[in-house]
Symmetry: C2
Subunit: 324 residues, 2 copies
């Protein structure tokens, strides 16, 4: 086998790419804006650009690369290697992304759901190492999930396994980006945290954030967490709510699968224990003692790198299963 892999994480905002060893160590990585506003063709061109940059900067040449793994949003079809509908990238519909990249670089490409890739990364090199039944959540622009049983990613019948962000937790609840109501994502994603917080501030909830916004700061999940760290009670409550709703979703997956580890990652998890404590409380309350007593609910360990490492890891798994 050639000594390197490339992992790509196609996000709503950035494309992250890394050159990675077969052991899962990052040699070089970088990110460029996905420029989703400029349409799917620009996003595809940027993926190519990002791959070229990562390899070039490391001084490596493409013939030392065994495979490229791409983690992409939303429903995929890995029979036809198509991204069906990347919910967070407008117009990114029915794109044959595997073949487009494979034809460009002449290297085998594997395509996976981005949250599955991040989950697999945490299993392979991160917080979930050694787990026999691991469930991963990624809290970012959306909420993604991944399930790994006995080391095997559960892709489902047609590659839509692990859509944990679109489980319904409030039957007639908030409208979600997917078009349904009451999904985990409609309560626990950064997008909705910002939306809910803005609505409550507008209603006059007292908060440091009001002053900060008047000073010209932009309301983000990060800003809300900064306010919480500065002692703002309202900001803390907003993050606790995220944990409460995420906990409803996690409790359901725990009842269904009885995992030993739930790993929570993504940008939002920088808020850390305040969210996880609320998740644990809800899971403890809503599952059997037997479900909870051997369960660890822990933060992801790889940060932003989970997706690129996992995508590369799955490209390796794919190459190995094809005996190449």
């Amino acid at each position: 086998m050639k000594p390197y892999l490339i992992g790509v994480d196609l996000g709503g905002t950035f494309i992250k790419t890394a050159l990675i060893t077969l052991q899962g160590d990052i040699v070089n990585k970088g990110e460029i804006p996905s420029e989703k506003e400029s349409g799917p063709e620009r996003v595809i061109a940027n993926i190519g650009k990002s791959i070229q940059l990562a390899v070039k900067e490391a001084g490596q040449i493409f013939n030392q690369v065994q495979g490229i793994g791409v983690g992409a949003p939303g429903p995929l079809n890995t029979q036809k290697w198509i991204v069906c509908n990347a919910v967070n990238i407008p117009g990114f519909i029915n794109i044959p992304l595997r073949d487009l990249i494979q034809d460009k670089f002449g290297i085998p490409v594997n395509l996976e759901n981005d949250a599955n890739a991040a989950g697999y990364g945490e299993y392979w090199k991160g917080a979930g190492r050694g787990s026999s039944l691991m469930v991963a959540y990624t809290l970012g622009t959306g909420v993604g999930g991944g399930i790994i049983i006995d080391g095997k990613l559960i892709r489902g019948t047609n590659d839509c396994g692990g859509e944990l962000g679109h489980m319904t937790i409030v039957p007639d609840g908030e409208m979600c980006s997917c078009g349904n109501r009451g999904c985990v994502e409609a309560y626990a994603s950064a997008t909705f945290l910002v939306k809910h917080t803005a609505a409550k501030l507008k209603k006059g909830c007292p908060s440091l954030l009001t002053k900060w916004l008047e000073e010209g700061k932009i309301l983000t999940a990060k800003l809300i967490d900064e306010a919480r760290r500065a002692g703002d009670e309202f900001a803390g409550e907003m993050l606790l709510e995220v944990g409460y709703y995420l906990g409803l979703g996690v409790a359901n997956v725990v009842s269904a699968l009885n995992p030993d580890v739930v790993v929570v990652g993504g940008g939002m998890i920088k808020a850390g224990e305040i969210i996880l404590e609320a998740v644990r409380r809800e899971v403890k309350k809503r599952t059997f003692r037997e479900h909870y007593e051997h369960l660890r609910i822990i933060p992801a360990a790889l940060g932003n790198n989970a997706g690129i490492i996992g995508a590369a890891g799955l490209a390796l798994e794919c190459a190995e299963s094809q005996g190449s």
Copy 2:
């Protein structure tokens, strides 16, 4: 291998037992009341009695039996082979059921969650044959579940996988028998169907059932379905509600696992398509098109026999994996 297996299905009301061939065909079966009111010791004695009857009636002798499989209400501990807490059998707590039966008969015994056993039965010999990712529900006194991926029952980290009846679908909803609120079981079990229907009748909802109850009939899920078949609109609505809430639970499992088949069994499914149509409607509404388009949501095929066939099948799987 010896030519026969014994399958036992320990229910809240009856103990069903059958002598079964290694191919999954029933040679002889019977059921006796579990007599749960008389305490756990009586229930255990009745299990023994039921096994003896099934074998004796068939004219077989115990030395032709390869293994005994018992499906018992959950949570179990199959490291210690203990029934931790059979929710529907009062006082049936921390019972070492595997060893009690094994010591009595001198035949290897395998212990599984009853709903897991029923699900495995439907996978092995019933509606789910050939499925690559099957989810099973059992609607009875409670609501049980089972998940079979690539032919393997998902037992979970400590034997509590597949507790699909205890997924939360209404965060602050009805109190469930498990002590939590808003579980699938608190809306879609026969117990709660009867409870909700009685409450609504008391409030004066017009229904044929009121007359029937005045005539001395007892309100059961079966009676509600009979009223529906006799054209009673209210009874139909009650069954549609069961389907709606079950559908919320099924939609969540479909988002998480992307199965190709969901099999719904148990006594309540005699009401048939009225429940399943409501389930399909909710799942279609709440999952991605990709989740729904290859999914079949179908009634169980083995009726009352799913549990005994599945328990026997898992005893066989257990014997084979031990190389005996």
